[in-house]
Amino acid sequence: AAEPWPENAVLYQQLKEEQILLSDNASSLAVQAFLQMCNLPIRVVCRANAEYMSPSGKVPFIHVGNQVVSELGPIVQFVKAKGHSLSDGLDEVQKAEMKAYMELVNNMLLTAELYLQWCDDVTVEEITHPRYGSPYPWPLNHILSYQKQWEVRRKMKAIGWAGKTLEQVLEDVDQCCQALSQRLGTQLYFFNKQPTELDALVFGHLFTILTTQLTTDELSEKVKNYSNLTAFCRRIEQQYFEGHDRDSSATVAARSAKRSLLR
């Protein structure tokens, strides 16, 4: 754990143009934003089977030295063990709040994204199914899609979201955004001057929602209602993603997301 961050760290995610879905894109962007904020170089590599390569089954995951870590939470801890941390300057109460808000985003935004992708029939048919199985030949693409859908639906049922209608889910998203907006207020970042992993997570999700074209615009409309959140996203994009010319993966991702998810 005392090794410095190597130059050849890699982040794996699914294929940007054809395959990646809303929720995975959001998670991946959050990790990229976090690493940018820590000033740690990372290269993004797209693989069709990223999901299966990942140790926990979720994307994104990073390959650093000889270790593989997936998902934002463990990555944050891993980075901390290497000596880089964004939340050291916070006191105990703020840390508690930060963790709580991160769970809020995971609990509501991420689940809402998953719901939209996998439980809303229109979206499933027009966007998710074609994209999810696109790298594979027939009939494997259908089989994998259905399998994943079944799995996600079971999980939704277990946490009680299966009975919700789309309107209710959008209501939840709205409330979540309202809470985030309240917390952000007029500050630059959630905890004043310095960005933390919460900022990265929120940015990842909101930016993806704002720039992804789905069958309807309702989801992004909910976010657009809160001007301080959109300004926040723009600010982070400008500061961390457009400054680097070579490493403009997020900007490219953002721009391509605008076009590619249009089917």
Binding site: E103, L104, N106, M108
Partner: protein, 371 residues
């Protein structure tokens, strides 16, 4: 406006506000109380202990839980008052887990029985009982966030502690339920709840964790402990989370912590950690004494007695009694069936003789034929 005054009037616990709400079965939705409608709903609330002392824990329980005690709904909302003990009599019979048998359940005059935590809260809000009335927007946002934190980190581990951890389940939780649920459901109900919770955890955590006990212990319990510590830090030395009057977040946190604190779990690592956080313990006891005065004193007197006696036996075979009964029944049924089918015993109308005639008759026929 009514709510404002109502909320401030902490002392008016409920008795004053007799609504026509009769509370079915046990506890209070305060268990699942959240400020707005966040997602994982009733389903996620842990089971209700049938024994009084540990009040609000909305849960799904199927059985008729006799000691229903009432408590304030939204933490401070003196509104909902619910019946005290003796609710057992009011309950019909055993309920099967399913549509009608969900707890917490609120029976109102106008709208029948409402059984989802969130719906109960909405209903009360419509009746103008709202504990979050005077929270600022930021505090409201914080409520949402902390509720999510509890749901994600603490709740699954609580379910695991009570329902999945073998020792706890067999020695404590199952007994808890089996003692209060009437025969014959007490054989099956705790088991089915156990299975349901197990499945839920499996979906949430994946097979990885379920199979590897140590990993689960280490990581998930560590997260839960951290969550408790965070709560403690957030509470600090305040009386309630947002100052001096309780809000729905308090109800929510209390409902999760109180059972953990009070239950006598044999395997209580999480419990020990909670006990080491002094301010949370004080917080729980103060709410308990403020809003649940009839449950005062040291609870759970019934469990130790049972636990002592059956301790040894239970270790060997948790289902011994049930298996014995079932095997006797099956044996009897098999014998009777055979008897009827082979004609040893038959029911003949109008014939005085017992079955004995039949076989004798058969034999005679055989003899005749042989000849």
């Amino acid at each position: 406006m009514v709510p404002g005054d109502a909320v401030r009037d902490g002392a008016a616990r409920g008795d004053a506000e007799q609504r026509d709400a009769v509370r079915d079965g046990a506890r209070v939705p305060a268990a699942g109380t959240r400020q707005a409608q966040p997602p994982p709903s009733q389903g996620s609330a842990p089971p209700e202990p049938p024994v009084p002392p540990v009040p609000p824990r909305g849960g799904e329980g199927g059985g008729a839980v006799p000691c229903g005690s009432g408590s304030a709904e939204d933490g401070g909302a003196p509104g909902a008052v619910l019946l005290g003990r003796g609710l057992g009599a009011a309950l019909g019979g055993p309920r099967l887990p399913g549509r009608a048998g969900r707890l917490p359940a609120l029976r109102t005059r106008d709208e029948g029985t409402i059984s989802k935590t969130q719906q109960i809260i909405t209903h009360l809000r419509k009746q103008k009982y709202n504990a979050d009335y005077d929270l600022s927007a930021t505090q409201g946002a914080d409520t949402l966030a902390f509720v999510s934190l509890l749901e994600e980190k603490l709740l699954p581990v609580l379910i695991h502690t009570f329902w999945v951890d073998a020792k706890n389940y067999v020695e404590h939780t199952r007994k808890w339920y089996a003692e209060t649920v009437p025969f014959p459901l007490n054989f099956f109900l705790p088991n089915s709840m156990h299975k349901r919770h197990l499945e839920r955890l499996q979906l949430l955590w994946g097979d990885d964790y379920m199979e590897d006990e140590e990993k689960l212990e280490k990581e998930l319990y560590r997260d839960a402990r951290e969550c408790l510590t965070l709560l403690s830090q957030r509470l600090g030395s305040q009386k309630f989370f947002f100052g001096d009057s309780p809000a729905s977040l308090d109800a929510f946190v209390f409902s999760r912590l109180a059972p953990l604190l009070k239950a006598k779990l044999p395997n209580g690592k999480l419990q020990q950690h909670l006990k080491s956080l002094q301010n949370l313990c004080n917080y729980c006891t103060s709410i308990l004494s403020l809003y649940f005065p009839w449950d005062g004193g040291d609870p759970l007197t019934s469990t130790p007695r049972a636990a002592g006696a059956d301790g040894g036996e239970v270790e060997e075979d948790p289902h011994k009694r049930r298996n014995q009964l079932l095997s006797v029944l099956v044996g009897l049924a098999a014998m009777l069936g055979y008897a009827f089918l082979s004609g040893i015993v038959s029911i003949q109308r109008g014939s005085a003789g017992p079955g004995g005639r039949q076989p004798v008759a058969l034999e005679e026929e055989e003899e005749e034929e042989e000849e």
